[in-house]
């Protein structure tokens, strides 16, 4: 009995040992399972993480492209604004030049019509030709209605007596008087002074009626060539100087007649 009992105990012991080993093995399997599941999770996470980075990179690349496009747009706009600025600067210079020309023309016109005194009108024409055009030697010749000749009435840098009377159609000055067209020498640098052939000859005319001629023989040393405003001044002189001279002559004639009539009236009434 005792032997039987010890045999059972030995088998129970063996069974218990085997059961414990089985339990330990099960625990090990469970741990390994847990470890593997954890690892799977890690791998899944890392995989999902790596796929999110590529998306972020793509977003960044898109943003960079957008910014580069914006930068290009801004550069284009800057270039456009710079071009506009250059245009404005050039336009400003043009307007300033135009403003200067208009100032000269306005003052010349204003001065020409500021008086009815014949001598003063001549003086103003001289001033315009010297100060605004820059001529050093010139003469102003008016048509003598009685003889039909052109005679110098005012000169600068020349003696009036040296300028001969000119007949209609005779020489350059006479032809200018006849045609009513301005003459400008082709090359003023090589021009040699000739009293019968000036470098510039401008008719003074009221509509188609020429009353005189402005003849220029020499420019101031610092005046190398004519500017656009000079031609405009010549055009202005051609018309305004003629009307100013004509008006002053009429006024002085009427003043003289008035004075004569007044003299008669005084004689009769005294």
């Amino acid at each position: 009995m005792i032997e039987e009992e010890s045999g059972y105990r030995g088998k129970a012991e063996e069974f218990l040992q085997a059961f414990k080993k089985g339990a330990e093995f099960t625990h090990d399997l469970l741990r390994e399972n847990e470890r593997l599941r954890y690892r799977v999770l890690e791998l899944e996470n890392s995989m999902s993480g790596s796929s999110g980075g590529a998306g972020a990179d793509q977003a960044l690349i898109t943003r960079i492209k957008e910014l580069e496009q914006e930068k290009q747009d801004i550069l284009d706009r800057i270039r456009k604004v710079e071009d506009e600025n250059e245009d404005f600067a050039n336009r400003y210079i043009e307007i300033e030049a135009e403003n200067n020309n208009l100032a000269n023309l306005y003052i010349a016109s204003y001065q020409l019509h500021s008086t009815l005194d014949f001598k003063e009108v001549l003086q103003i024409i001289m001033e315009i030709v010297i100060n605004l055009i820059g001529a050093e030697e010139f003469s102003l010749m008016l048509l003598d209605e009685k003889t039909g000749d052109l005679r110098a009435v005012a000169c600068e840098g020349l003696e009036r007596e040296d300028i001969p009377p000119i007949k209609l159609g005779s020489g350059l000055i006479g032809q200018t008087l006849q045609s009513g067209e301005s003459y400008f020498a082709e090359d003023i640098e090589t021009y040699k002074r000739d009293l019968l052939s000036p470098m510039v000859c401008v008719p003074l005319k009221i509509k188609d009626h020429v009353i005189g001629v402005l003849a220029i023989y020499k420019l101031l040393i610092q005046k190398e060539k004519f500017a656009q405003v000079d031609y405009e001044l010549f055009t202005l002189l051609a018309g305004h100087a003629a009307t100013a001279i004509f008006g002053a002559r009429l006024y002085s004639d009427s003043e003289r007649r008035l004075s004569t009539i007044q003299g008669f009236i005084d004689l009769l009434t005294k």
């Binding site: 300033e96 100032a103 000269n104 003052i107 204003y110 001065q111 001033e127 100060n131 820059g134 101031l220």
Partner: protein, 125 residues
């Protein structure tokens, strides 16, 4: 009261008007005109000017004499003087500058040149 008092000494009314026209583009400017050197000198003695523009060839007293007399007077030594003349030769320019002129403009003149010189000497930006 004007910011800048400028005297123009010039016998030609056309030139006086042209110079005046150009200078009036300066804000707060007051222009006084004189027809010759003597008239100019009287005006310089009567009031304070910030700048003088003068011609050289004038009746009664020329511009060079005016410059030397203005510069002789200690109270007017600092006034900028600009010569505007038909005399374009280098020696004329040097003579005027030696007498005390600050700048020299030759005719025919452009209003913007006058304005440019005036702004420079009056230190207007």
């Amino acid at each position: 009261m004007a910011d800048f008092n400028i005297l123009i000494v010039e016998d030609s009314p056309t030139m006086r008007q042209l110079i005046s026209f150009a200078l009036k583009r300066i804000r707060g400017v007051r222009i006084v005109e004189a027809g010759d050197g003597v008239d100019g000198l009287k005006k310089v003695s009567a009031e304070k000017f910030d700048m003088i523009f003068t011609d050289i060839n004038m009746p009664v007293m020329d511009g060079l004499k005016l410059i030397s007399l203005v510069r002789e007077d200690a109270t007017h030594k600092g006034i900028p003087i600009v010569v505007i003349t038909t005399e374009g030769a280098q020696e004329d320019r040097q003579r005027a500058l030696a007498l005390g002129a600050d700048d020299y403009i030759t005719k025919p003149i452009q209003p913007n040149r006058i304005l440019e010189v005036a702004k420079q000497l009056l230190k207007i930006v």
